[in-house]
């Protein structure tokens, strides 16, 4: 860096640093010409240093853990983030970034990464039966298909070692002591047997419990052949105390990448679906994750069982989202307007009106589902004097109940933002309207309302997007029910798209789990909401022109 640059950055930097009394600034600037600008360690710099030290310590800890866990993606991402953070906060040319960076980091970890991961899963067949990698699937198939030879005895077993090599010393049912390792089958040896278990054997060192545990992976992987005949099975142990004779009914040929069933001789080869498949089309039960392209998107729209209910669900989703926004906004705005005029006890009324907003969105629908129970609910029993109104079990009433409960839940929010917007209306405009002779209604319609809409429309759009995916309300209040009686899939009259995804993808336990399909459908929903929001935001620009 040249001297010239240095001077410029130094003077540019001054406002961004710890504030100094104005009269001293000049002196400091003069002084700094001689020494390096870094010679100045104010309280702000020290605080920054301490904070960065904490951040770096945390970062190094994550790097270390990622290294040990061999998660290279986390390691790389963390390394980049740390480098960027240090550069930003110790460089003098990145003042705006200093403010934005924390937000950017959160954006990447919580938004971009999640969206990216969802997108990735949408193109795989991740779900029940395709839960992990191919290596895991092969390992799982092999351990599932290793069977104890029927009627084979429990063999008291001792783990022995010959240097590196592990072996099993086993007392046979007839009392002979035998020893063998992975290559050499069990053969009789001279050994000391105490309490039915071998405690010492020639040429081998008996491992104690701690030594066995230190090498437990090797011990559980060890297979000692019973005899020279490979078909006779091998001894293995799961607890290093007792061994059993096992034989594998499934053998993996790594070179050919095939699984062979030793009892029937059937050969299974991997197929495109991520499963081992035999020539006759039968498959082994454990599969692995593979990329399936657009399969998830096509199945989502090609299953004939879903076509009818799907349309109904989409229509109801839109109706629900629009109705929710409209009802909550109208009621909220009405109440805000009413309570905007001075009256006695206004603060108390306002506080009371905001109360529903204070109840968590997960709890309120549950409460209401109890209140609206047909035979025992408070609404029917007390308010309606014992009438048996099927609030949640009749298709139309259930929809009405949902919009009603959402109105109760949502109007305080609209009330709050409308009150805020009304209070910030410029009084000169209202006065001008008065002078022009406009009546109350006219003022409200031509002045207040347009100004109110300008400031609340973005919030209405986000409210629409929120209600479009208002999973908690539907799931907790009706669970999607009452069920479509003419449909062959477990969907109901109040299911919206996101609860449909939850049920179609088996996340509620009523179907095999299919995370790939769920992700694909979530992306479809995302596209719908994004499109609507984009159009709506574009439209609101015309409103803003009033200003």
């Amino acid at each position: 860096m040249t001297d010239l640059q240095q001077t410029r950055t130094a003077s540019d930097e001054a406002p961004g640093d710890a504030p100094a009394p104005p009269d001293s600034t000049r002196r400091r600037r003069l002084g700094r010409r001689d020494e390096s600008p870094a010679g100045r360690y104010g309280a702000g710099f020290l605080a920054k240093l301490a904070l960065m030290a904490v951040a770096n310590a945390f970062g190094v800890y994550v790097l270390w853990s990622a290294w040990l866990a061999e998660s290279w993606i986390i390691l790389g991402a963390m390394l980049v983030m740390l480098a960027v953070a240090n550069w930003v906060y110790f460089s003098r040319r990145t003042v705006p970034l200093k403010y934005v960076l924390p937000g950017l980091i959160f954006l990447f970890t919580f938004q971009i990464f999640t969206i990216g991961y969802t997108g990735w899963v949408a193109f795989t067949n991740y779900g029940d039966g395709h839960n992990s990698t191919k290596d895991d699937a092969v390992a799982a198939l092999l351990i599932q298909n290793e069977r104890r030879v029927e009627g084979s005895p429990a063999l008291p077993l001792t783990v022995v070692a010959d240097g590196e090599e592990l072996g099993f010393a086993v007392v046979q049912p007839d009392g002979t002591a035998t020893v063998g390792d992975a290559e050499a089958p069990l053969s009789a040896v001279d050994a000391t047997v105490a309490e039915g278990r071998i405690t010492a054997v020639d040429g081998w060192e008996v491992l104690d419990r701690a030594e066995v545990l230190a090498r437990q992976g090797e011990v559980t992987d060890l297979r000692v052949p019973v005899s020279d005949d490979p078909g006779a099975g091998s001894v293995r142990t799961q607890d290093a105390r007792t061994g059993y004779v096992y034989e594998s009914t499934l053998v993996y040929d790594e070179a050919a990448d095939t699984m062979t069933d030793t009892t029937t001789g059937t050969v299974y080869t991997p197929n495109d679906e991520g499963q081992f498949e035999a020539a006759d089309g039968s498959t082994l039960n454990v599969g692995w994750r593979v990329f399936v392209g657009f399969d998830n998107f096509t199945t989502a729209f090609s299953d004939s069982r879903y076509s009818g209910p799907f349309l109904q669900v989409v229509v109801w989703t839109f109706v629900f989202a629009f109705a929710s926004v409209a009802t909550t906004f109208l009621l909220g705005m009405f109440l805000a307007t009413v309570f905007n005029t001075p009256m006695r006890g206004r603060k108390i009324y306002r506080t009371l009106l905001i109360l529903p907003y204070a109840i968590p969105g997960f709890v309120a629908p549950l409460l209401w589902s109890g209140l609206l129970n047909r035979s025992f609910g408070f609404v029917n029993q007390v308010l309606l004097g014992g009438a048996a109104v099927p609030w949640l079990t009749d298709p139309w009433l259930a929809k009405l109940s949902i919009i009603g409960v959402n109105l109760w839940l949502g109007f305080p929010y609209m009330f709050l933002i409308c009150t805020g917007a009304l209070q910030s209306l410029p009084t000169d405009v209202l006065e001008a309207a008065k002078i022009d002779g406009a009546g109350r209604l006219r003022t409200w319609r031509s002045v207040v309302m347009p100004l109110l809409l300008v400031s609340t429309t973005p919030l209405l759009i986000s409210s629409f997007a929120f209600n479009f995916n208002n999973f908690a309300l539907i799931y907790m209040l009706t669970g999607g029910g009452p069920r479509f009686e003419d449909a062959s899939v477990p969907l109901g009259h109040t299911d919206i798209m996101i609860t449909m995804v939850y049920s179609v993808a088996g996340l509620d336990g009523n179907a095999p789990k299919d995370f790939g399909l769920a992700s694909a459908l979530s992306i479809v929903i995302f596209v719908i909401i994004a499109t609507i929001s984009a159009i709506a935001f574009k439209r609101t620009r015309s409103l803003e022109e009033i200003n």
């Binding site: 860096m1 390096s36 960065m52 066995v212 992976g217």
Partner: protein, 418 residues
């Protein structure tokens, strides 16, 4: 400026290094455990790490597993880390986390998860060896799939008819007896059974089997094959019975679990169909446990659920895990402790015999002896959603019994094929 960066980075490095001191130690320990599994551990003798076992349990079982773990720790020197989880979360978390290597070595679970756990390749077989004979047959059978045992059972649970002896002094032989006894008792409800608008096929299953309509075909060895068996005449007869009882008002979808339990606790009915998990709330009542009365002409067989412990297929401590299960959790002390914590009859015969000194436990156990294990095949997942709602719709009268039942059969078959 350059100097400031130098000083800053020097400071940061010192701080970071000192902060890392503790992480370093932890890292070393972790490194040791990874080394163990590799063949390079030449100095394993001098650097003896004994390994640690992670076990997932839910609240009711925590203290019982802890005491078994203590015995294990003192004898083997291994560490057992007990992680408390919600029982409802364990199944999906186990499936999701085992492949990442972050899963536990051992988890508590129910036997009907087995099919799903196997297809996802997350459980390893457990060789019970001679201990298998010490368990109740149904318990080991429930954890068996395709000839291999996949878990250590510890408790058996099933529903039965719980009777308030003050309101009814003898056990009803049939459903009609039960209803007439209930009417004689002159209580608010003659008979309580949880239903809800989504139905409850688990609780209703004994009535369904009494018509001879089991959910799936059962093989000779007690395992299920994925062939639906609840259609046909027997199924129609059951559907018809549901509709009749719904019309008569003895069955109603308004009764949820909470409502049923509360009403029984208040003495509003002499009978309730339920399991040992309800008993806590009936502490003030004199109870007797009877077989569920048959509504059809065959025996009413409820489902048996078996709880047990699974070993992860990717456990790096498989040896410890199996040792812990087979040699420490299968003891009578451990099984009795689990019984006392959860109140479910133990799966170990000796512990179950000891627990049967309590007539309530003995009653549930007797009913359980006649019951059938809940299917653990993965196909079972596709059945519940259609099954319950159809039953509920038939009871509430909103659907024609025969039509709704046959539509349910074809819907389930459609879901199984897809």
């Amino acid at each position: 400026m350059r100097r400031s960066i130098l000083i800053a980075s020097a400071l940061v490095t010192t701080l970071a290094l000192s902060a890392c001191g503790s992480a370093d130690d932890a890292g070393d320990a972790a490194e040791d455990t990874t080394d163990e599994s590799t063949a390079e551990a030449t100095d394993a003798g001098e650097d003896m790490a004994t390994g640690s076992l992670t076990v997932w349990v839910d609240e009711t079982r925590e203290s019982a597993v802890e005491s078994a773990a203590e015995a294990f720790e003192t004898e083997t020197g291994a560490e057992v880390e007990i992680v408390l989880k919600n029982f409802e979360d364990i199944r999906s978390d186990f499936i999701a986390q085992v492949p990442t290597g972050e899963g536990p070595d051992v988890t508590v679970g129910a036997h009907d998860w087995l099919g799903e756990l196997i297809t996802n390749g997350v459980v390893a077989p457990v060789e019970l060896g001679a201990t298998a004979e010490e368990f109740e047959d149904v318990a080991v059978e429930a954890f068996t799939a395709d000839g291999a045992v996949y878990g250590l059972p510890y408790a058996i649970e099933n529903i039965a008819l719980i009777r308030n002896t003050e309101l009814a002094d003898t056990a009803p032989a049939t459903w009609d007896d039960a209803i007439s006894m209930g009417e004689d008792a002159d209580t608010k409800y003659p008979f309580l059974i949880q239903t809800g608008t989504e139905g409850d096929p688990y609780t209703y299953y004994p009535f369904q089997t009494s018509f001879g309509a089991p959910v799936f075909e059962q093989n000779e060895d007690g395992s299920y094959s994925p062939e639906l068996a609840m259609g046909g005449e027997a199924g129609d007869a059951y559907a018809q019975w549901l509709a009749e009882q719904g019309e008569a008002g003895t069955l109603t979808t308004d009764i949820t679990y909470d409502i049923a339990v509360e009403a029984f606790a208040k003495g509003q009915s002499p009978f309730i169909v339920g399991g040992p998990w309800m008993l806590e709330q009936f502490a003030d009542l004199d109870l007797a446990i009877d077989p569920v009365p048959a509504a059809g002409d065959q025996a009413a067989q409820p489902f048996v659920g078996v709880q047990g412990f699974y070993v992860s297929a990717q456990s790096e401590n498989a040896l410890l895990a199996n040792d812990f299960l087979v040699n420490f959790l299968s003891t009578q002390d451990a099984q009795t402790a689990l019984f006392e914590a959860g109140g479910r009859p133990p799966a170990l015969t000796a512990a179950a015999d000891a627990a049967s000194s309590d007539p309530i436990v003995a009653g549930f156990r007797e009913v359980g002896a006649e019951a059938v294990p809940m299917p653990s095949i993965p196909e079972m997942g596709s059945v519940w959603a259609f099954w319950g709602v159809t039953e509920a719709n038939i009871i509430s009268g909103s659907a024609d019994p025969a039509e709704a039942w046959s539509k349910m059969i074809s819907d389930i078959e459609g879901a199984l094929d897809s």
